[in-house]
């Protein structure tokens, strides 16, 4: 058996030297790049991010583009629905109301032709006012004038009772919140305490504006008054309509957003920042200090917000008629930080015990290094998430407080106070409630969804998924 193999030295030559081990052929991603990637792939979060950006633009740049004074009252266009500028005819400031005696005289002559019409419109009918006249009924004690938006069907369905006038008066001037629409006027004579039939008249009312008002608002050029009267001009446009005092809804929403977002962003920044420092310190130091600090946080969390808001308002010497935004900010900051502090403390306690922290400490890493290199970057995720959730809740608090009248003072708008104004006309003019309510809901939703997305994106356990 001499077939045994004798190894030679050549057999022990090393294989090829591998200079390149593993090769990274994709660009290296930092944690934040990774987060961004994942956030981008989350359509819902991305959409809400765009929405937040749009909102910020709306708030900051909006008033520059739509430079309408939010407290300007356009009494010609009260509670107007969304739309572009209406056309209006120019009318004299004070309508010459025909004198009643001469009127009845001329009316009686006019009607001698037997037209049989018992109620007539005198002159033009426009939103600044209109005059009605009727034929006298024998032995009438008084006449009641009604206005309806539907065609009257019976004597019990004449609409709004506008006025009751004495027997000597045979005309009535109506200027009660007229809108450019069709009205049915009726007059009902009362004879011996009993209504005696009625006469109706359909009246088309056109939008009008008094000349001096139009001039004040710069809608007409300076010049000859007489030639301008009767001409048609375009009134200010109100894309989202007006409120019950004729104030532009779009401008109010923009300015209201400033109040809402100011509170919504500044307050969380402060209290999340404070919570970070407080919770971070408690967690890092640990022991008795931690215990004492966290018990204090528990105490603060138990304090009722509304009560403190009121106390701060008094303590600050905020007089009646002054804005409650300052105390609201202080109350929010002073009472809302414990949630963040707890979160951060828990996170820091956990990180403190991690092996890499222990290693860093053994290699001589100081407190500053540990905090800046390991602690802070690792709590950043939960911090951002808690910030994005704090913003909508602060906006909501502001809206709620302004709704119950503890926030802004008139005429400063805020979404909450606009809702409060709008709720009164919810049935007749729903846009006054819907728009601010929509903005509150959309903002709160957008921030919540964004927070949701951020939380998902920052969860390191999901890191390998992308």
């Amino acid at each position: 058996m001499n077939d045994t193999y004798d190894p030679v030295s050549g057999d022990f030559e090393p294989l090829l030297t591998v200079t390149d081990g593993e090769q990274i052929d994709r660009p290296s991603l930092s944690y934040w790049q990774d987060v961004w990637l994942r956030l981008k792939s989350n359509t819902r979060a991305l959409a809400s991010l765009y929405m937040v950006l749009a909102l910020v633009t709306f708030t900051l740049a909006g008033p520059l583009i739509w430079s309408v004074d939010p407290s300007k009252q356009d009494l010609e266009q009260i509670s107007q629905g969304p739309g572009l500028g209406q056309k209006a005819i120019l009318v004299p400031d004070r309508l010459p109301v025909p004198s009643i005696n001469s009127l009845t005289q001329s009316m009686a002559e006019d009607r001698a032709d037997g037209s049989g019409q018992r109620l007539d419109l005198l002159g033009e009918a426009h939103t600044e006012g209109l005059t009605l006249s009727w034929l006298a009924v024998a032995n009438a004690d008084s006449y009641t004038i009604y206005r309806h938006e539907l065609e009257p069907s019976s004597i019990d369905d004449l609409g709004l009772p506008l006025a009751q006038v004495g027997p000597g008066q045979l005309s009535y001037h109506d200027s009660l919140s007229l809108e450019a629409t069709t009205y049915y006027y009726s007059v009902m004579p009362i004879v011996a305490g009993q209504p005696q039939g009625y006469a109706s008249q359909r009246v088309e009312v056109v939008q009008a504006i008094a000349l001096s008002e139009a001039r004040y608002r710069g809608l007409v050029p300076e010049g000859d008054d007489a030639s301008l009267l009767g001409s048609t001009i375009r009134l200010e446009a109100h894309p989202l309509g007006t409120d019950s005092l004729g104030r532009d809804m779009l401008a109010r929403l923009m300015w209201g957003a400033r109040t809402s977002l100011f509170i919504g962003i500044i307050a969380p920044l402060f209290f999340v920042g404070f919570g970070l420092v407080y919770g971070g310190f408690a967690g890092y130091v640990g022991g008795k200090t931690d215990n004492a600090l966290m018990r204090f946080a528990d105490f603060v969390i138990a304090l009722p917000f509304l009560l403190f808001m009121i106390l701060f308002k008094i303590a600050f010497g905020i007089g009646p008629g002054e804005s409650g935004i300052g105390p609201m900010l202080v109350a929010l900051v002073l009472l809302s930080w414990p949630a963040t502090a707890r979160l951060v403390r828990g996170q820091v306690l956990q990180i403190r015990e991690e092996a890499y922290v222990a290693a860093a400490r053994m290699m001589g890493g100081g407190a500053n290094y540990l905090v800046m290199r390991h602690m802070l970057p690792n709590v950043m995720g939960v911090l951002l998430v808690s910030l994005t959730f704090a913003i909508p809740s602060a906006i909501f608090t502001e809206a709620f407080l302004s709704f119950i009248g503890m926030g802004v003072v008139p005429p400063t708008p805020s979404w909450g106070s606009m809702c409060n104004d709008g709720i009164r006309t919810m049935l007749s003019h729903p846009h006054e409630l819907i728009f601010p309510a929509l903005f509150i809901s959309a903002t709160v939703l957008a921030f919540n969804l964004l927070g949701d997305g951020l939380r998902d994106a920052m969860d390191s356990r999901l890191r390998s998924d992308s």
Partner: protein, 547 residues
């Protein structure tokens, strides 16, 4: 301050519960419908819980409504709202004395007779400063009344005597033309001493602590939720009372909720409809009625020497830009309201015609240029460069805030004056008004009795309700002139002069005279709407026979 905020919060929360309450069906089958023919009962709604059903101390409108059904004074109003005898069968009024002869069949709800002593006791209680009755000033009409209300004399010295059980005599300090109208007021209703003393602090706090002499008695009072009034079998004029009971199954201050209750056939009348409720009514083709409650609303200036508003030219400037018609027609925009022109509302009677026709109030010219001249004068007189913000005190209700925002805008736009709004709940507003803590206040004044004097003496220097402390010898003299006589001609002339003084001195800026739009069930008739006492009144209401 705290009360105010909490109160508002509580109200906001209460509103939520109210909606729930209104949505849930009524508690009993019998109270579920507006008109119950079988039981001869009707159901009504109230805007809030009656605060105080003690005639001595009641001040709020809702308490007045209830009290006007369950009590009756010496004088009363009949089905047509004409003055008539109540407990008094006969009466005699001279310049210095009023005598009433009481009917022998007037009974309390426990069957005991109503006597003159009950009135003497009641009026002494109202005058007694220990009761702190807000209407104690009415008792100054009687001899010693003023000293008693100031605590200087014992209430038993009030110039009112019971000559016997059925004869009452009162000594008047001055000729009081409207005295008979005055005694219809709630504060003049009788109180029976033995019952009052037996109840002590609990008097009128609940159904069992009350005794009535009116057409109805209160038989159920679930605080904050429900009331029921049943016909008083002992009432002397019981044959004229048709209803067996009046239920109040709902209490809500929300006009839309009231309108919905009406549409659901739960109540017979929905009053105080706002613009959206009137729209609902219009599109449901409901018959709408209007009613003027006689209250005048105005902006009152603070005339105290430490306030800028003491300056006449500043007030004139504001007067010359404030357009009451625009406020009434465009901003308030509800029918029934009339633009205010004077302290004296248009419905007040004059000698033959209406007071406003006999003495037309001076017309305010709206003139912005002139206003700015006045303002410039005011600036020089006051020696200031810039006007600091002026405060406007107002009630914390949606409608008054809206009106104040309009006022704020007009002053800023036309005069460049900054007005800050001081919103307070009603009680707090009254407290601040009394303390003089305001530059301007949006106030209102409702009539207490049917005579222009109920408005005229409001700005007399001695009147405690003159919250702006307006002091004018001329004004006082006109008031004294009207008080010194029962001659209507002289009195009305004095009222006309007062209207002129108020205009010239710009004591107030009249805003509007309040009116209401309401809907009423066609099956019910005989409901009275009134400017004095409790409104509405169902004492003589009846269910129309089925046709």
């Amino acid at each position: 301050m705290i009360t105010r905020h909490l109160n508002r919060t509580i109200r906001a929360l209460a509103l939520c519960s109210m909606v729930v309450l209104a949505a849930s069906p009524g508690s009993g089958v019998a109270q579920d419908i507006a008109v119950d023919r079988a039981r001869n009962e009707i159901s009504i709604v109230m805007t809030e819980e009656p605060q105080w059903l003690n005639t001595v101390r009641a001040t709020d409108a809702v308490s007045f409504i209830v009290l006007d059904h369950i009590t009756e004074g010496l004088m009363s109003y009949d089905q047509q709202n004409r003055l008539t005898g109540g407990v008094a069968e006969r009466w005699e009024l001279t310049d210095t004395r009023a005598t009433f002869w009481l009917r022998r069949d007037a009974r309390w709800s426990d069957g005991k007779p109503v006597t003159a002593h009950d009135f003497v006791f009641a009026w002494q209680q109202v005058a007694d400063p220990r009761n702190a009755a807000e209407y104690s000033f009415f008792m100054r009409a009687f001899t010693n009344g003023e000293q008693i209300t100031q605590g200087k004399l014992d209430p038993t010295l009030l110039g009112v005597r019971a000559l016997d059980d059925y004869t009452l005599e009162a000594d008047l300090t001055q000729p009081t033309a409207y005295f008979l109208e005055l005694v219809t007021f709630i504060s003049f209703r009788p109180v029976r001493e033995d019952f009052y003393r037996a109840q002590g602090q609990a008097y009128a706090a609940d159904v069992q602590n009350m005794i009535s002499n009116g057409p109805f008695t209160l038989t159920k009072w679930v605080h904050g939720a429900e009331l029921r009034m049943e016909k008083n079998p002992h009432y002397w004029n019981r044959d004229a009372i048709h209803l067996s009971a009046i239920n109040v199954p709902y209490i809500t201050s929300d006009a839309n909720a009231r309108m919905n209750l009406y549409m659901d056939n739960k109540i017979v009348m929905a009053t105080g409809l706002d613009s959206s409720a009137t729209k609902t009514a219009m599109y449901n083709r409901q018959k709408m009625l209007s009613f003027s409650d006689g209250t005048v609303f105005f902006i009152e200036f603070n005339h105290r020497p430490d306030r800028l508003t003491r300056n006449l030219n500043l007030r004139r400037a504001m007067q010359a830009v404030f357009d009451a018609a625009e406020l009434t027609y465009k901003v308030i925009g509800l029918p029934g309201n009339i633009p205010g022109v004077s302290l004296f509302p248009v419905w007040l009677d004059g000698t033959e015609k209406k007071l406003s026709e006999e003495f037309p109030p001076p017309v305010v010219e709206i003139d912005a240029d002139k206003a700015r001249e006045y303002l410039e004068l005011a600036r020089q007189e006051l020696g200031i460069d810039e006007f600091p913000p002026l405060s406007l005190l107002l009630s914390d209700t949606p409608s008054s805030i809206k009106q104040a925002e309009y006022f704020q805008n007009v002053m800023a736009r036309e005069l460049g004056l900054q007005v800050i709004l001081d919103r307070q709940i009603f009680k707090q507003r009254l407290a601040k008004m009394t303390a003089g803590d305001f530059d301007m206040v949006a106030a209102g004044w409702g009539p207490d009795y049917n005579d222009p004097m109920t408005f005229a003496d409001l700005f007399a220097s001695w009147n405690l309700n003159n919250r702006g402390r307006y002091v004018s010898e001329v004004y006082d003299n006109h008031v004294k002139r009207a008080q010194s006589t029962t001659n209507t001609r002289i009195r009305n002339r004095a009222f006309g002069d007062l209207a002129q003084v108020i205009h010239d001195d710009v004591v107030i800026l009249p805003q509007y005279e309040r009116g209401y739009i309401y809907v009423q069930d066609a099956r019910v008739d005989g409901v009275r709407r009134r400017r004095f006492g409790g409104d509405p009144n169902y004492n003589y209401a009846f269910i129309k026979p089925e046709s």
